[in-house]
């Protein structure tokens, strides 16, 4: 009987833990990496200009998504929960205070993501296409279309024009 007690106790000890399993990393962002082409290869680059990114909200006001990025190598921008296409305005200002404005259109599919009734409702996304104007931006390439909690994934490679 003593042996059975020990078995029961060891089972309890190993399984006594319970908790709410909401992920600590629970933000969903589109990760941009500043890149350049070198000998046909994509290599990391740094944007020398200062970068701001805005979008337009449903109420018609602009909202700042990325503020005053200097020597940017990568940055994160949110994606709308349910918009089929996000319109983003990129402003780059060089050291001579001249500026260029680009518009980026990011099309995506929105996928409701569920962890538990205790965890906030979230959307994952699948990027279907991206296009832009070409004032400062040269090209934007989809590297990984799946936008999830994983902040280590670089979803888009953005190439700025060389001056």
């Amino acid at each position: 009987m003593k042996r059975l007690f020990y078995l029961f106790a060891s089972l309890l000890l190993m399984t006594a833990c319970s908790g709410i399993d909401c992920p600590i990393e629970n933000a969903v962002f589109v990760n941009y990496a500043v890149m350049k082409s070198q000998g046909g290869e994509e290599v990391a680059d740094t944007l020398k200009d200062t970068l701001w990114v805005w979008t337009r909200r449903a109420d018609g006001d602009d909202t700042l998504l990325f503020n005053r990025g200097v020597n940017v190598r990568s940055f994160q921008l949110p994606a709308s929960y349910q918009g089929a296409q996000d319109t983003l305005v990129f402003l780059t200002v060089d050291t001579l205070q001249s500026f260029l404005i680009d518009t980026v259109w990011l099309s995506k599919e929105d996928i409701p993501h569920f962890e538990s009734v205790d965890c906030a409702a979230r959307y994952f996304h699948r990027i279907t296409s991206v296009r832009s104007t070409h004032q400062a931006i040269d090209t934007i390439i989809i590297n990984n279309s799946q936008v999830t909690y994983d902040s280590s994934v670089k979803h888009l490679y953005i190439h700025f024009k060389k001056k």
Binding site: T15, G19, I24, Y81
Partner: protein
């Protein structure tokens, strides 16, 4: 509806919601090893040894109902109705089939405002072994294994909410999403004769998923027959058993 709190011996809040398969399997393996060791130890004492005597091999059937799932269903927002049919082989081995209907109806969580609904049947098959020294005593101590399976659909909704950046109203609906799960259980239980053919028994069960399809939504919450996935893998049953 109250938000659940939990106390545990060691907190294991993971950096990612998905428990790694390796970690899960390692823990499962550990439990199996402990279980096997205890059985080998018990076997050495003759607990598992077939007791040769004049008692016939086939001793009849028993039907049982679980009161814990019923109480969960009545008192909380999830639970299960469960009944079982068990064979008695020489008061020593008990092949068993457990059938149930699991339901969850969690409405408008007070923190996340998420509603979760599912209702589906499930089954478990397995066997118990009477590990008491005297196999033919009125009371039994047993250990057992189960394999469980359910195929279920979930409805998950949230009242419309505002996108924090775009300020658009967002809906969140997952309807009729088909999911399924295979799992295994190790259990330890005690059963006592109350009067005549009526027995009462309880069991504590360690459950672990073998494989699952969460319908591509991330995770499901309450799985019929398995319980909620965000709490301990430990389950309990309290059975009313009638020998036939």
């Amino acid at each position: 509806m109250t938000r659940r709190s939990s106390i545990c011996i060691s907190t294991s809040r993971r950096s990612d919601a998905r428990q790694t398969t390796g970690h899960r399997h390692l823990r499962w393996l550990l439990i199996l090893v402990v279980f096997q060791l205890s059985l080998f130890s018990a076997s050495a004492q003759g607990f598992l040894k077939f007791q040769r005597d004049s008692i016939p091999f086939f001793r009849g059937f028993a039907v049982s109902a679980d009161l814990v799932g019923l109480a969960q269903m009545q008192l909380g927002d999830y639970g299960q109705y469960e009944a079982a049919l068990r064979l008695n082989l020489h008061d020593q081995y008990f092949p068993i089939v457990e059938l149930g209907l699991g339901r969850a109806n969690h409405q408008d969580d007070e923190v996340t405002h998420i509603s979760y609904k599912t209702s589906a049947p499930y089954f478990r098959v397995g066997a118990d072994v009477n590990i008491a020294k005297n196999k033919h005593a009125k009371n039994r101590i047993y250990a057992g294994l189960r394999y469980g399976y359910t195929s279920y659909k979930v409805d998950i909704d949230r009242e419309p909410f505002e996108d924090p950046y775009w300020k658009t109203m967002t809906t969140y609906n997952i309807n009729d999403r088909q999911c399924s799960q295979h799992w295994a259980e190790i259990l330890f239980g005690i059963e006592a004769e109350l009067v005549g053919p009526l027995h009462l028994g309880w069991s504590v069960r360690y459950r672990n998923r073998l494989s699952n399809d969460d319908g591509g939504i991330g995770k499901t919450w309450y799985v019929p027959g398995y319980g909620t996935q965000d709490t301990s893998n430990l389950g309990f049953t309290f059975n009313v058993i009638v020998d036939i």
